[in-house]
Amino acid sequence: MRRVAIIGTGQTRHARCRDDASQPELVREAAAAALADAELRPADIDAVLLSNMELFEGRAFPELWAGEGAFACGKPCMKVATGGTSGTSACIAAFHQVASGLFDTALVVGFEKHSEGHTQTGMALTDPFWDRAVASGALGNFALSISEYMTERGVTERQAALVAVKARTNAARNPHAHLKSPEVTVEEVLASRMLAHPVRLFDMCPQSDGACAMVVASEECARRACSRPAWVKATATRHEQPYLGDIDRRLCAMRTLRDASRAVYAAAGIIDPLAELDVAEIYEPVTYAELAWYEALGFCEDGGAGRLIEDGVTSMDGALPVNPSGGVLSTNPVGASGVIRVAEAALQIHGRGGARQVDGARLALATGYGVYAWADAVVLGAEP
């Protein structure tokens, strides 16, 4: 397998509604930005990988239009679909394609225009016999697992609110972010409207319009084209059973993310992730998820997540800044959200994070989360 690096990233401005652009125009905005960042032209790209949800845009074959915007005409192009993990999975697929020697360069583009379709309807079209007939949608299914997690691990609503404050404060330093609230307080989060107990409005990710792209290159191409490539050190993806009732202690165990992270740590030679990682961009659809992921990712012992956020360990000036971008809690064009995690991690290694740059970041983790428990993990480094 050849060494692979990310040599350029690009994002649109993410917002609740981008009706100034069509779907292919939005995709092109991100794809062109990534090519400009890599100082490449469309003709330099060998293959294109796309990430996007079905049904959220109320359109069949969204990849046809996305491909058009991603300079894919006349090139090998395919969509990767693994729910919320689609974006991270598309990145991993691109890494594999280049690592295999099949292509020297690949362009990954994830996009979503939630404002054009009806996301809750799309989300509700899960299993027709067991889920759809009873209850469905992202909010309800996630909230359903939180009471179990809070009870077992002693996590409080206030600790979750601290995650929301961190996310929206960090997002204020990210020019691409959708929700930016540098002044938001824990009290405001706790006073926000209850959606599904214990999840309040400010605990939840938004629905955004946006796209994100990156250029993946072989070692030879990366060394030629990029002064500071973000090298792909390890990747892992884990599927899970699709029926919610089958997933034993879903958030407490988070078996998929636990396994995927242990696999990438082992492959990248990471023994103590909290001490060794410089930055993490994790896919947290809701505040409580970020706390559960700290434990699954081994940033602390099980039961230690509340203390981690209270002590500021994961804030911008902490030992391991988590989601300098503001995370999914601040920006969520779902098909792009996983690509954004990997791109933001790469941006940190590239040293191009601007106001959200973690000084001297050399080792970064990005994760994806999809549907009920699907998980991806990617480790990027300044050294191959």
Binding site: P128, A135, L139, G140, A143, L144, E148, G245, D246
Partner: protein, 138 residues
């Protein structure tokens, strides 16, 4: 320029072998079926044709208890939803907890409340209600 429209999508899904049997037995006998996995020995409920974890085809379905334990729950504007592990099963079922106004806790003991007229749907179970309430009515 913005174009507005809407889409109506009809569907007809096959339940498959195990789920069909689960739904027919629920409708006709008012009983809840689970499927034992020959590999991991777990009883999966609702009934399944194969174990998603082991990949093995499940054995002859077994009847699980209508009584069970609340594993987790959430309260929403649309009602209270919970994961309930029926006695005799090793997995939980997603369903409504009734009544919505009750004080719910993890570990609460509940029992399935069935509709008198059933159609062969998971909603033939109206939801799960506190075990004490059903005992009072018994």
């Amino acid at each position: 320029m913005i174009r507005e429209g809407s889409i109506h999508i009809p569907f007809t899904y096959a339940a498959g072998r195990a789920a069909s049997r689960f739904l027919v037995v629920l409708r006709d006998e008012g009983r809840i079926l689970g499927s034992p996995c020959p590999a991991c020995r777990r009883v999966l409920c609702p009934a399944r044709s194969f174990c998603p974890r082991c990949g093995e085809e499940t054995g002859e379905p077994v009847v699980v208890d209508p009584a069970g334990t609340v594993v987790s729950f959430t309260e929403t504007a649309a009602g209270v939803f919970g994961l309930v592990r029926p006695d005799g099963a090793d997995t939980a079922m997603l369903h409504r907890l009734l009544p919505a106004g009750a004080k719910w806790t993890i570990g609460a003991r509940v029992r399935a409340r069935l509709l008198p007229e059933r159609t062969g749907s998971i909603t033939d179970i109206e939801g799960f209600e506190p075990l004490e309430a059903t005992e009072d009515h018994a």
